[in-house]
């Protein structure tokens, strides 16, 4: 009785598609900000001085690669693999931290990605167990 059947979880299984889609969306967002940093860096409000750790083209590459990883993980999360949930949690934490350091460049974009990251973490940690039950 304590073990939920797949019928019981079906109402909540949508959380994983939610997380997967959000991962893909935030990955696309990351890639857009990465390409902008690489190709059109005077688009950003920040000068080189006001960025942390890297310069703007290095941040561009970081965001581009992070975005690719997020999109790949998003598609694999939707197929319900356990490892992809763990990877997705770690990636979402990294994406949040990267956007935090990069916030001076375009604050509103960063805030959007950070909140999507928090939603991803909520969906994956709080409702993650139901996915595993339903997918077996």
């Amino acid at each position: 009785m304590a073990v939920p059947t797949s019928q019981e979880t079906s109402g909540w299984i949508g959380w994983i598609y939610f997380a997967g889609l959000l991962l893909i969306i935030s990955g696309v967002f990351e890639m857009i900000s990465g390409f902008t940093a690489l190709l059109n860096d005077n688009f950003y409000a920040a000068t080189e001085r006001s960025l942390l750790v890297f310069d703007i083209s290095a941040w561009g590459w970081v965001h581009l690669i992070m975005g690719l990883f997020l999109i790949v993980t998003g598609t694999s999360v939707m197929s319900g693999h356990m490892w992809s949930r763990v990877v997705a949690v770690i990636l979402a934490v990294f994406a949040i931290m990267a956007q935090f350091a990069f916030m001076a460049a375009y604050p509103i974009w960063s805030i959007i990605v950070i909140f999507m990251g928090i939603m991803i973490l909520f969906a994956l940690t709080v409702h993650g167990d139901e996915v595993r039950v339903a997918s077996r």
């Binding site: 009785m1 304590a2 942390l52 935090f100 940690t125 167990d129």
Partner: protein, 173 residues
């Protein structure tokens, strides 16, 4: 004819009685099943780690994020304080290097306690709540330096406090 009617009515009465007792038995059975289910639910809510135990992982990840952001803010305050929007006069209590050390200390403690929370330690939850409150207060005081950072850390800390106070007890098992 009269006998027949009597027989019918008595038969009916018998039927009625049987039906009633059958219903009573059914209800009794349902009732006991209900009790059983209820007991199971109570048992599940207090001791069994259900799907909701995820709240604890959520709290642990959130306090880790809050801690790492604090760490970043601390290092920036120590090494690159012209990055911040205000001068030291705009801060409430300490100067930038003191704030830097406070943030680094709180950040490291938060990141460390996230492990204790994830493994379901009771003291981890208490220390986690205390650290989240301290983070929140320090960021409220540090707000003029970089308002957006502080607002996000405050939001994350509120989520930590919510998850640990309302859903914390599910983590014990």
């Amino acid at each position: 004819m009269k006998d027949l009617r009597k027989l019918a009515s008595s038969g009916c009465a018998l039927c009625h009685k049987v039906a009633l007792s059958a219903i009573a038995i059914c209800f009794y059975k349902d009732y006991t099943e209900d009790i059983h289910n209820l007991r199971g639910v109570v048992h599940m809510a207090t001791t069994k780690p259900t799907g909701w135990v995820g709240w604890v992982y959520f709290a642990s990840v959130m306090i880790f994020i809050a801690g790492s952001i604090q760490l970043l803010a601390g290092f920036v305050a120590l090494f690159k304080d012209d990055f911040y929007l205000t001068t030291a006069q705009g801060l409430i209590a300490f100067d930038y290097s003191q704030w830097g050390w406070i943030h680094i200390l709180l950040g490291l403690c938060s990141m460390a306690v996230s492990w204790a929370i994830a493994t379901g330690k009771f003291w981890g939850r208490l220390v986690g709540i205390a650290l989240a409150v301290l983070n929140l207060l320090s960021n409220a005081a540090f707000l003029p330096a970089y308002p957006l950072w502080s607002i996000i850390v405050i939001t994350v800390d509120l989520l930590v406090i919510y998850a640990l106070t309302l859903h914390g007890s599910e983590a014990k098992a």
